[in-house]
């Protein structure tokens, strides 16, 4: 009767298919007012004055709020460096500056959305423009123009890894490959633009019904900015239309709460609603970090890596968001899942006046993996060695030390994952033993030959990656769940309360399955109470591929504890349970020595492309992806995540071309920022779900929502090289970039 490992129907499927599920934009309350936000639309300037009188005088306008109305005018997930509203009259130093075009300046609340928009346009702001920094390398070295003058530098995070002695190792290397790589910005493009309804609830709490990824962190940030005790703020998540990391930071949460609260202080007790347009969404939330990566790897003739040196610069835009954490991941992953005795890494996160950047599926991993895997593929070429073979010679195995001087946690499956992916893609692996590793590529029977006269060139590329599961580098990692078992002689109902955000990934179904399994009942007896800070404990965020792992363990623990009480005849039997993950430690400031993560997922991908050398179009013929998920709690959902990640990675690699100029956005809508349509997706995606259990994961599960994204771009770049002989060190591989690389454009 076990439900673990079964593709049970999603608990939210019916509601979403029938349209019954409600998203935050679908909620209305009687007498609600509407809010519009005035954005800076300037990349770098000092606000001299804000004239709100005309807006306030417009009939139908209830209030206009600016910086002076924010008690603690600051927020930020990794550091509170961002004003809630930029402008005058708050105590926050330098809050009178705007640092990117999406900075928020004023809030207008009015009887209708139309009046609010009209009033917003009546607000005049006098600015004194400042020099605009858009090149992260220049921003790093520029000490005259500072985005945050109180910090003395545009660099707000620098990690170092010092392992062994890279210089002597390079001196002994037989081949050295140098690379300079750039990875692009990416927009999350979730289906549901930001929306919310704010109100004062029946207990007098400032309440927001919004879409986010971590109810309790939203609550904390709202309470901090408003200067309210935590229990005076309530955050509720209904159905959420996608997130991908893009809802980790604040967009409308604080300002919506602020407006409702300030209105109520003026005796206006009215709900306030806001819905961003697609254009506001693209302008108003952060993007994936673009990285510049300069790197040098050395190996012996036999393929054994001896040294890697990497310098990374992350363009973080005007504020930190989660940049420090993203940088930590990139620092670890930029040398790949390989055993390298000598490593030197310097990683910087810097402020610029470009779009703010933060969490996005993979969280620094795709950027690091692009450099690492392209280096490996180029080393293989230089050594005339098979790309799978060189990986098997260097891949991290149980007990090997990471660049940060400690081993991976137990349950390392990277060698097996590489081997299985390679075999599925047509390789023969003669030995997967480190010292005698041997792999040969046999062309698959169905693989087309390259015809000399044709414009169509086929190629195959391979890449591997590892992705942490859970918060890294010493961040506290815990998850609460409550189980209430009801019934008499038999269990009639198991009620689980938790705050895991259902952003479309299916976590509520997984939680239901975990509860049913732990209680030994059918899924139909499980009821979920979800994502409301007044009734659910802190589950942490749906990020870092962590929620199946964390909530799975928390729910299992809660149900087991409640069962203990049940057998002791308590009715109902209620247990609160907090799961704490194994400890991790931060990077040592000098050497980077650390225990970075408590669990990982392992992935390898082989991609076959067809490059049209006349048009520059790249067609993905097939994608073979082997993903060690530990245990597929719900196999259909796992496959859905793999396919979704591949399609999103495909947009990142081939199509999504985010253009900024002098701090202004050129691709602020979906007619100019193109993402794949159903006609563009790969001809075939073959997911191979592998199950090497994680020793501490629930039922052996690892997190897996991000990892299929990581090796995709480097695998495609290798496939394009296989097809055309050209290495691209930058993407997206738009047709224009491909044609330029092929020398077709003057």
């Amino acid at each position: 009767m076990s439900t673990i490992g079964k593709s049970v129907a999603r608990v939210d499927a019916l509601g979403k298919v029938t349209g019954e599920s409600r998203y935050s934009g679908d909620f209305d309350l009687p007498n609600q007012a509407y809010m519009k936000i005035l954005f800076a639309n300037r990349p770098h300037a000092i606000i001299k004055r804000i004239f709100t009188e005309q807006a306030e005088a417009l009939p139908g306008v209830l209030a206009v709020f600016t910086a002076k109305d924010v008690p603690q005018n600051e927020y930020g997930l990794s550091m509170p460096d961002q004003p809630v509203l930029c402008g005058l009259g708050s105590a926050k130093p330098f809050a009178d500056r705007v640092r990117w075009i999406g900075d928020q300046i004023a809030l207008v609340v009015a009887e209708t959305e139309e009046i609010a928009a009209k009033a917003r346009d009546l607000i005049r702001v006098d600015y004194e423009d400042l020099p605009v920094l858009t090149d992260p390398l220049e921003a790093r070295d520029n000490h005259e123009v500072l985005l945050h003058p109180d910090r003395g530098s545009n660099i707000f995070c620098h990690y170092r890894i010092r392992k062994g002695d890279v210089e002597s190792a390079f001196a002994e290397a037989d081949v050295i490959i140098e690379g300079e790589y750039r990875t692009p910005v990416q927009e999350h493009a979730y289906l549901q633009p930001e929306a919310g309804l704010g109100y004062i609830d029946e207990a007098g709490r400032v309440t927001v019904n919004v879409a986010g990824q971590w109810t309790h962190k939203d609550q904390e940030q709202i309470a901090h900015a408003l200067g309210l005790p935590l229990d005076q703020v309530r955050v509720i998540y209904p159905a959420i239309g996608g997130a991908f990391g893009g809802r980790e930071d604040m967009s409308i949460q604080i300002v919506l709460a602020l407006a409702v609260w300030r209105l109520s202080q003026r005796g206006i007790n009215r709900p306030v609603k806001i819905i961003w347009s697609r254009e506001e969404s693209i302008l108003g939330h952060h993007k994936r970090h673009p990285y510049w990566i300069l790197t040098r790897w050395g190996a012996k003739k036999d393929g054994k890596l001896v040294a890697a040196e990497v310098e990374l610069v992350a363009d973080s835009g005007g504020y930190a968001y989660t940049s420090t954490k993203v940088l930590g991941n990139a620092t670890l992953m930029c040398t790949g899942p390989y055993d390298i005795p000598n490593v030197k890494v310097d990683a910087y996160a810097v402020y610029t006046n470009n779009m703010v950047t933060g969490a996005f599926r993979g969280f620094g991993g795709p950027q690091g993996a692009f450099a690492a895997e392209t280096q490996m593929n180029r080393l293989a070429e230089a050594l005339q060695m098979d790309p799978v073979e060189i990986r098997l010679k260097n891949v991290l195995r149980e007990g090997d030390l990471l660049s940060v001087g400690t081993p991976l946690p137990k349950g390392v499956s990277m060698p097996e994952v590489i081997e299985q992916c390679a075999v599925k893609a047509g390789w023969e692996v003669l030995s997967n033993d480190r010292s005698q590793a041997r792999a040969i590529k046999r062309s698959r029977k169905d693989a087309p030959e390259n015809d000399r006269g044709s414009n169509l060139k086929c190629g195959m590329g391979f890449a591997a990656a590892f992705k942490n599961v859970g918060f890294s580098f010493g961040a506290p990692e815990q998850c609460w769940a409550t189980a209430e078992i009801r019934g008499g002689a038999e269990i009639e109902e198991v009620v689980i309360s938790h705050a895991a955000a259902e952003v479309g990934q299916g976590v509520h179904t997984v939680i239901g399955q975990a509860a049913a399994e732990a209680a030994g009942v059918t899924l139909s007896r499980v009821r979920l109470v979800t994502s409301d800070t007044t009734v659910t404990g802190d589950s942490g965020s749906v990020s870092a591929s962590r929620m199946t792992f964390m909530a799975g363990n928390a729910v299992k623990g809660a149900v087991e504890a409640a069962l203990g009480k049940w057998y002791a005849e308590e009715r109902p039997a209620i247990a609160y349970y907090q799961y704490r993950a194994p400890r991790t430690t931060p990077l040592d400031p000098q050497t980077g020595k650390s225990e970075p993560n408590f669990a990982y997922g392992y992935v390898a991908e082989a991609v076959r492309v067809e490059v049209d050398t006349e048009t520059g179009h790249i067609r993905l013929v097939d994608v073979i992806t082997a993903d060690d998920v530990g245990k597929a709690i719900n196999p259909q959902q796992v496959i859905g995540q793999i396919q979704g990640a591949v399609v999103q990675a495909m947009g990142y690699t081939l199509m999504e071309n985010f253009i900024q100029q002098d701090g202004f956005l050129q691709t602020g809508r979906f007619s100019t920022y193109l993402i794949p349509t159903v006609l563009d997706v790969p001809g075939q995606i073959d997911p191979y779900v592998l199950e090497y259990p994680d020793p501490v994961g629930p039922w052996g599960a690892r997190g897996m929502g991000e990892m299929p994204f990581l090796p995709f771009a480097p695998a495609v770049v290798a496939a394009v090289h296989d097809a055309t002989g050209i290495w691209f060190n930058e993407f997206p591989l738009t047709p224009e970039r491909v044609l330029r690389g092929l020398g077709k454009l003057s």
């Binding site: 199509m655 071309n657 006609l679 224009e736």
Partner: protein, 287 residues
């Protein structure tokens, strides 16, 4: 509000009178609305009154009249791409119609709207240039008939007076032995604006190209013809070498610019790609 009043015309005289009966107000005709509504949203245009012409029978449908094909301005792309008359006589228009946006857009959007919007990247207009079509315009008092190349006067500038409507498109049925083709280059398989496109008509006679028109989109302020490519083609038998030479000649006539979809150099290169593909297909269909 995007507009104050929305009127639905049932007949052509009613449409014309609605267009001129709102003194001082900005009145615009709307067909599918797939350009206009977006432009109102983005405040590129404004309007007080919209006159919906999408149901006016005189503006709809496709018919043969004295050796001419007549397509009503309010005919949708779905109707055009399914029309036997078009498929048989002006395949280029069916091919272009299938490449506009995606199915939802093709069900709403009209040929007249594409002409009225006059984007230099409009996908239906190159075919009309290649077919040497005329635009028939009607006003409260009279009709005018203007070659499409003259109707489009400059960047988004058309020869249409206030109170006038585009009524229909007319062109002579191409002679026996004619093949037509449209080739669109975009950055995505559907729902993407052309980076460059080309429409071609060729008439073959005894294995030699007797007549050729080549039109290019998104490489100048309006759709343009390429006289250089046409003169390369005329009098020659089709061959890969000829297609290459026509492509090269077309590049000389193109005057593309840099924008977010591509650089001028990229577009110049694509003119060659689009032209050679379209000419090759047209010749195959003519044969």
């Amino acid at each position: 509000m995007l507009y104050r009043k929305y009127e639905v015309a049932q007949t052509l005289p009613e449409a014309l009178s609605l267009l001129s009966s709102h003194n001082g107000a900005v009145v615009r005709p709307v067909a599918g609305g797939t350009d206009l509504i977006l432009q109102l949203h983005e405040r590129i245009l404004s309007a007080d009154v919209l006159v919906d012409i999408s149901r006016v029978p005189e503006l709809r449908g496709i018919r043969l009249e004295n050796g001419q094909l007549v397509i009503g301005a309010a005919t949708t792309y779905t109707e055009i791409s399914r029309s036997d008359l078009v498929l048989k006589n002006a395949f280029v228009l069916a091919e272009a119609s299938k490449k506009i946006g995606a199915v939802q857009i093709q069900n709403m959007a009209t040929l007249g709207g594409n002409i009225g919007n006059a984007s230099p990247a409009a996908d239906a207009i190159p075919g009309l240039y290649a077919l040497q079509a005329d635009v028939v315009v009607c006003g409260p008092n009279a009709e005018r008939r203007i070659p499409i190349t003259e109707f489009h006067q400059g960047y988004r500038k058309i020869d249409l007076n206030p109170g006038e409507l585009i009524k229909e498109i007319r062109f002579a049925i191409p002679a026996e032995g004619t093949g037509t083709a449209f080739y669109k280059y975009a950055l995505r398989k559907s729902q993407a604006i052309s980076v460059v496109d080309a429409a071609v008509c060729v008439q073959l006679s005894d294995g030699v190209i007797k007549h050729a028109t080549v039109a290019l989109g998104a490489v100048a302020p309006t759709i343009i013809r390429s006289p250089a490519a046409e003169s390369v083609l005329i009098g020659e038998p089709p061959s890969e070498d000829l297609f290459d030479r026509a492509a090269e000649a077309a590049c000389q006539d193109a005057r593309p610019i840099d924008d977010i979809r591509g650089s001028a150099a990229f577009r110049k290169y694509l003119v060659g790609v689009c032209t050679s593909h379209a000419v090759r297909s047209a010749c195959e269909r003519a044969a």
